[in-house]
């Protein structure tokens, strides 16, 4: 299905890691954090140049025809470098929605724009604002009228289009909404890992028929959320790798009571547990991505397991990375706390451990699928 070989993926990973280590250093990252945008426009252009934004976009639309496996390589690097750019909403959610549910015109318009770095898109679906009114769409001639609220819209402020999930006569529908449209307002904030997010209010916003995704149904959304959950797992894998590496380095160099902290057995065993947890999360994540890539029957099962185990690992590693660093781990100036907060976010996005375990438990109670072996 994918145009990539394993070798291609390895090369992609190498170039991503090189970029993260060389070009996305702490200083640059702090500058990005403090910028108004909250992400690097210059980096976004670089990603486009290097072809990363198009890895999972069809070749007909200017991409290189990869799929989830390639996106996972990208997201893992994003986790390693704590990248601030809107990869998840643009490449996984929006490009995914348009690729799978868009019309020929929508694809031709937006996919090349995404691949070339000319357009940033996001998707608004979760109702994160308490007691927010859900978004409803009604038909008005050829157009649609959208009203309601959506919370936690990632990079809502920067998006050229927000794909809004709305209820259309009892069915799920997706609409491409320009943030500049009349009746759209956005309230800006930062996520716990410093990313720009927004709440979206739609007050009788008129959307043209051509901006409704013809295939934007509930099934598409579920499939997108599954993909996004795995992308988040891959990002967490990357973040855990580096959090573990930084912590291990610290154990080896920081001295206390005349010896390195890492010479004590308790920190040693904890570091072993953190390493095993990261290894386990990585293994189940790649297994789930492999299954989802070929639409194997056990893909749902493995995805739930991946998200749950990766959430557990993220918590252990995030918390213990701070604990083992001691005071320095509590400072904003040092990067380990940023890994902690990124992992907090990833743990919860697209379903926390509890949600996925409930599902997995329900399936298991109903009978253990053989497909899983």
């Amino acid at each position: 299905m994918s145009a990539f070989t394993q070798e291609d993926r390895n090369m992609l990973a190498d170039s991503l890691n090189r970029f993260v280590e060389e070009a996305y250093d702490g200083e640059r990252r702090f500058a990005i954090l403090k910028s108004d945008d909250g992400f690097g426009r210059q980096e976004w252009a670089t990603y486009a140049e290097l072809g990363w934004l198009g890895i999972a976009i069809d070749e007909r639309h200017g991409g290189s025809g990869g799929g989830l496996a390639e996106l996972a390589v990208l997201m893992r690097a994003a986790g390693r470098g704590l990248l601030m750019e809107p990869l998840l909403p643009t490449l996984i959610l929006a490009a995914g929605a348009i690729s799978q549910g868009g019309s020929a015109e929508q694809k031709a318009l937006w996919l090349p724009a995404i691949a070339e770095g000319r357009a940033i898109l996001t998707l608004a679906q979760d109702d994160a604002a308490q007691d927010a009114a859900p978004v409803t769409a009604t038909k008005a001639g050829d157009d649609y009228i959208l009203s309601g609220q959506r919370g936690f819209v990632l990079y809502g402020a920067a998006a050229d289009r927000i794909i809004v999930k709305a209820d259309l006569a009892g069915n799920t529908a997706l609409f491409l909404v320009p943030p500049t449209a009349h009746g759209v307002s956005l309230a800006h904030a930062r996520s716990i890992d410093d990313r720009p997010v927004a709440d979206l209010v739609l007050d009788n916003v008129r959307v043209a028929a051509g901006d409704c995704l013809p295939g934007g149904d509930a099934r598409l959304l579920e499939s997108l959320n599954q993909t996004a959950a795995l992308a988040v797992c891959a990002e967490a894998v990357g973040a855990m790798e580096i959090a573990n590496r930084l912590t291990l380095d610290y154990l080896k160099t920081r001295t206390q009571f005349g010896t390195t902290i890492g010479s004590f057995q308790v920190p040693q065993h904890r570091m072993v547990d953190m390493t095993l947890a990261a290894q386990e999360a990585a293994a189940i994540t790649w297994a789930a991505i492999g299954a989802a890539s070929v639409q194997a029957p056990d893909a749902d099962l493995l995805t739930a397991a991946a998200k749950a185990r990766s959430a557990a690992a993220a918590r252990l590693i995030g918390e213990q990375a701070i604990q083992l660093h001691g005071g320095i781990g509590m400072t904003e100036e040092y990067v380990i706390g940023h890994y902690y907060r990124r992992l907090m976010l990833l743990e919860t996005l697209f379903g926390g451990a509890g949600w996925h375990l409930d599902r997995l438990g329900g399936w298991t109670a109903a009978g253990m699928a053989e497909g899983s072996v």
Binding site: A129, F152, A189, R190, I192, L349
Partner: protein, 395 residues
């Protein structure tokens, strides 16, 4: 604990807080918002007028000779009422060391300002190379006539940005065991050579500081007690505070807040208080809190009966800090995706929650992030377990 006199005292404190704790201050505390220095001072002066801020001091120094139990009840009830943290640097740390080991002149000069919170103190213990391993401090104090010349760096210094005075551990000798060359010095924060640099912590807040001491001249009369005995005085302080480490009052307040948050947040149309997982988790935290209270009460009863302080501080510190993290962790989990927006503007008093996020969430997230430090500061929990293994278990 069911003694009527004790219950009456508890009721008194509670009632006093209800009547006298300024509403604006309480609201900030309950919302987890930033407090100004003036908020702390205002409340501590109210307690000073009542004679309670130094209730645990001896009558000779203006206190009320409270027993450890009274002290604990006072701490509990003020915390639960939503009072600000009773900043301990003056009334719990500097004060008791000065009245116990200080000179007559030091007592006269410093105790009044400590009692009234007219002088703000900070604690100069930790250094970049000496956190949990305090005996390793490097800040040097070299005698030069009537003065010590102090050079070095202190770190993790809470509220140093507001401080008039610092009590500090400094190295006056490198001979013998590392503990022996440490002295206890009172340093005027306005002295030339003192520089305070903020440390922003992962909750994006400014509680902590680095304090650079660059040839700071400190009069010899600011040495407390005997040169080289500073370690002993610092340990005295630790014992002094041993029964408050459990932070039962704070945990009680946070658990109330968790319960409220659970009732406020709905998933699938039902509040989290109706969700079996959440009920059990709440039950578990409640059970741990009740058990921690029971442990504290046993220690307090022993202290009332005159038993010498033991290693309770380590045990209570471990249990108390891990419980607080359990509660704040549950808060963040309860907020779930709604808690992933961290609006630090929401920590400013008077802020009106806009559409984004959940009211109260910024304060809870701040608390959670901040409280990752509870298992680190004051000797990391790993160190506390080492202490217990050695001293209690003989391992």
């Amino acid at each position: 604990m069911r003694d009527p006199a004790i219950q009456a005292f508890r009721a008194d404190v509670k009632q006093f807080c209800e009547k006298n704790l300024p509403r604006d201050i309480r609201d900030k505390v309950l919302a987890g918002q930033h407090l100004a220095k003036s908020d702390y001072v205002r409340w501590q002066k109210i307690l000073f007028d009542k004679g309670w801020i130094v209730g645990h001091w001896p009558r000779a120094y203006g206190g009320q000779d409270w027993t450890p139990l009274q002290r604990a009840i006072f701490d509990d009830e003020t915390s639960k009422a939503g009072a600000p943290w009773l900043t301990p640097f003056g009334v719990c740390y500097a004060g008791p060391v000065i009245y116990t080991f200080g000179s007559a002149q030091q007592k006269e000069r410093y105790l009044p300002g400590i009692r009234s919170t007219d002088t703000w103190w900070c604690q100069g213990y930790s250094e970049p190379g000496a956190g949990s391993d305090l005996a390793n401090i490097k800040t040097r104090a070299v005698r030069d006539g009537d003065q010590y010349v102090v050079s070095g760096q202190k770190t993790w210094t809470t509220m140093a940005q507001w401080a008039d005075m610092m009590f500090a551990l400094v190295r006056t000798s490198n001979d013998g065991k590392p503990q022996n060359g440490i002295s206890f010095l009172l340093i005027d924060m306005n002295s030339p050579g003192v520089t305070v640099r903020p440390i922003i912590s992962i909750d994006k807040c400014h509680h902590l500081n680095e304090v650079f001491l660059d040839d700071v001249r400190v009069p010899v009369e600011n040495l407390v007690g005997v040169e080289g005995r500073g370690w002993t005085y610092a340990k005295f302080l630790l014992n002094n505070e041993r029964l408050l480490g459990a932070e039962v009052g704070k945990s009680t307040r946070l658990l109330h807040q968790l319960r409220q948050t659970m009732a406020d947040i709905r998933e699938g149309g039902r509040p989290l208080t109706d969700d079996p997982h959440w009920r059990r988790r709440l039950g578990e935290l409640r059970a741990r809190l009740l058990a921690l209270e029971a442990v504290c009460n046993e220690y307090l009863a022993a202290a009332e009966a005159g038993s010498t302080p033991g290693l309770e501080v380590s045990a209570l510190k471990i249990m108390g800090s891990e419980l607080i993290q359990g509660i704040t962790g549950a808060m963040v989990d309860a907020l779930a995706i709604k808690g992933l927006v961290y609006q630090t503007e929401g920590l400013e008093p008077g802020w009106q929650a806009p559409l984004v996020g959940v009211p109260g969430a910024p304060g809870m997230i701040r608390e959670h992030l901040h409280d990752r430090a509870t298992t680190i500061y004051g000797g990391a929990n790993e160190i506390q377990r080492n202490i217990l293994a050695k001293a209690v278990l003989g391992l």
